[in-house]
Amino acid sequence: MTTANTLSASGAPTPPAPLPARAAPPPRPQPQRASRGRLSTRRRRSALLWALLLAGPNVALLLVFVYRPLLESFYLSTLQWNLGSPTARSVGLGNYVEWFTAPSTPTVVTTTAVFTVATVGGAMVLGLGLALLLDRKLVGRGLARTVAFAPYVLSGFAVGILWLFMFDPRYGLVQELLGLVGADSPQWYTQRPWPLVMVIVVYLWKNVGYVALIYLAGLQSVPRDLKDAAALDGASSARTLRSIVLPLLTPTTFFLLVTMLLASLQSFDIIKAMTSGGPLGSTTTLMYSIYQESFVNGRAGYASAVATVLFLVLLVVTAVQMRFVQRKVHYA
């Protein structure tokens, strides 16, 4: 029989296939390389021109709306500029020095780390659990799937404001529910660390459905015969989950980890709607501090420096994930 171990050795990096894995996929044809030397220079140049022409419009849009602002933001980070003024002063790396030495920086970084770990970790675990549940043949499964996914399509602002009502320590629904079990409501709006907990809970509520949906798709591409074989060999369902399902889900997990991490580090709307980064900065993440510095404190140059720091963090996180996490990915 095939085990997960032998499977992992055969991995060609293709997306999860709906069919059971082939023992050894045939090498892909590589016509370009093979006939490279035979292709005339003229034809190659013409192909290149066509490629440029066809890619042009997209490249142009990317350049204008993604890369140009990115570069411009690097440039702004060397300025002292208040966003409204037609003039600015160059300060070199002064903004960076200030950020790295500011007394508020460790707090912001810690808050960001707590928020990111809690939202990404929580969403992955809860999402997987929900997916396993929704993968079973239950009555009303279609409805349950829709309901679980629905929060993801709602606007973060609307979600934040609705949950703000529910968390109200004096009149809110959460306070009522806690009252049923005899617990007092925490001061969700004012007392640390509850505002951060509140924001994390809402973020999870909004995003778990998305994680579950992607995991559900992953679960359905786990070959049936593998699970059947494991069952025949007497593996418990926990063992099957650990040794077969989870390893085969690693491409999905990897994809989710990257996208969720990026989304979490960039989240803004729920925080803005619910706490505006407060009280006392206890929900101010790196992303929120960029908004705060730029639009509230009128320090667009400094905010650009913080944005650059965030950009580098995201770049490093993604590179590390690509390099190390991908090695452990199993493809069916």
């Binding site: 021109l49 042009g56 204008v64 966003l83 409204g84 003039t87 600015a88 407060g278 639009f295």
Partner: protein, 454 residues
């Protein structure tokens, strides 16, 4: 991909032009500030001869509809268009509060997507002026015979800098002391607000027996554009202030005493409780017996409360006290054409004239911005029917004090001051420590964003 017969020159041309277009787009889309050693001096643009200008046929107004006044503002526009059919006014909801409108206005400043008339709140207009984003109104008001000297002097003077006025008062307010008359009567107290903060503490013993279990005698909420506003009354009451001119005075004994007073109000005497979200909502629901709220909340409170609402001056401290003025004015962006500016000024004059400021005041609770409106029959009738409306106007005349520079003129200082206030109120922090923690940031903000432009 299919290969058509080669028509190379054309293709080259196409590629070249595509690349050229990219390059051009990249270059022209570049915007942003120009870098100079010193910011451009705020030169007054050459004077416009307004008599030679024809007003534009359409103008745009960015507002957050202060005091839930969207319908009121639409009515003001309808009245204006009836009188001036040649000019139409487009009302844009540019944010949910003053800060959001200001942020949008800042972000749009390097573009042509600007309004002709914009909300300019007490903590924002000076920043607009420092950036040369708004124009002085004196000349155009003179041309229009706008009778600027009929504006309530304290309110119009708020927008004066170097002999010129940079905005006109519109939705102007002061903080008011709101109290629950029913609870007051039940506690056997006289039907008036406390004259001093000490008196409120004395009354606490009897009031406390009549508020709900999780309520309190007095409640407050904090937040940007709010906490550091009402706290001016308390810090002044102890003889302190945020700043003397632009010099920070948060470390003076009197200012620290102000912080200590706030600390004790919440953490020693227990007279006050922190409202989670909106103290006005807690007040209207009867949870707290009194609060501080803006004049602009008056109409809403009268409508929402099931009891009789009383309004009074803010209580005094041992060194007096007084009330800051606040709210918002309206300004005209300097980069608009003379035609647009003139039309905007005509509209501004119209909605702040005697009749319309009275209408706006009656509909919201904001103060009438013209002296003639305060004395008008319309307002007199309102004051006779709902005397609560009168308190703010009287308080303005009796107790108003210009705000400390640092709060209104230093970008971001209001939010930092609010942070110190929250530290004291929420965490019971030592006031001196809380003030010291924000001092370097306020000093940086002043050095970066104010000093070079003065």
């Amino acid at each position: 991909m299919s290969h058509r017969p080669a028509r190379r020159p054309r293709r080259h041309l196409a590629v070249a032009s595509a690349l050229a277009a990219v390059a051009a787009l990249t270059a022209t889309a570049c915007s942003g500030p120009s870098v100079g050693s010193t910011p451009a001096a705020a030169d007054d643009a050459e004077a416009i001869d307004w008599s030679q200008v024809e007003p534009a046929s359409e103008i745009t107004w960015w507002s957050n509809h202060p005091g839930q006044s969207k319908a009121v503002e639409e009515e003001l526009i309808a009245r204006f268009e009836a009188e001036h059919p040649e000019i139409s006014v487009k009302l844009v909801t540019a944010g949910a509060n003053y800060d959001e409108v200001a942020q949008r206005f800042q972000a749009a400043s390097q573009t042509s997507d600007l309004p002709d008339l914009v909300i300019a709140s007490d903590v924002w207009w000076f920043r607009y002026h420092l950036n040369d984003q708004i124009m002085p109104l004196d000349d155009v008001f003179e041309h229009l015979d706008a009778e600027a000297d009929d504006f309530q002097p304290a309110l119009y003077a708020d927008y004066e800098y170097e002999g010129q006025h940079w905005a006109a008062p519109y939705a102007r307010s002061t903080p008011l002391f709101y109290y629950n008359k029913d609870l007051w009567a039940a506690a056997g107290l006289p039907d008036r607000g406390p004259e001093t903060w000490d008196e409120l503490q004395e009354w606490d013993a009897s009031l406390r027996q009549h508020v709900p279990a999780n309520g309190s005698t007095f409640g407050l909420s904090t937040g940007p554009s709010w906490g550091a506003w009402w706290f001016e009354n308390m810090i002044w009451g102890q003889g302190g202030e945020y700043s003397d001119g632009f010099d920070l005075t948060l470390d003076s004994d009197e200012s620290v005493a102000g912080g200590q007073f706030l600390h004790d109000l919440f953490h020693a005497s227990g007279v006050a409780s922190l409202s989670a979200d909106d103290a006005m909502a807690d007040f209207a629901s009867g949870l707290i017996a009194s609060t501080i709220g803006s004049t602009g909340s008056l109409k809403g409170a009268l409508d929402a409360a099931s009891f009789e609402v009383g309004t009074a001056y803010l209580p005094d401290g041992p060194a007096g006290g007084g009330t800051p003025t606040g709210g918002t004015g309206l300004a005209i962006p300097s980069s608009r054409t003379p035609e647009q500016k003139l039309a905007a000024a005509m509209f501004l004059q119209f909605i702040t004239n005697t009749e319309n400021t009275a209408y706006f005041s009656q509909s919201t609770g904001y103060m009438p911005v013209r002296t003639s409106a305060v004395e008008s029959d319309a307002m007199k009738e309102t004051y006779a029917q709902t005397p609560q409306f009168r308190t703010a106007v009287d308080q303005l005349a009796d107790k108003a004090r210009p705000q400390d520079y640092v709060r209104v003129f230093v970008p971001g200082a209001d939010a930092l001051l609010n942070q110190a206030i929250e530290q004291i109120v929420i965490e019971g922090a030592d006031p001196r420590t809380a003030f010291e923690a924000i001092t370097p940031q306020i000093e940086t903000a002043y050095k970066e964003n104010v000093e070079p432009y003065l």
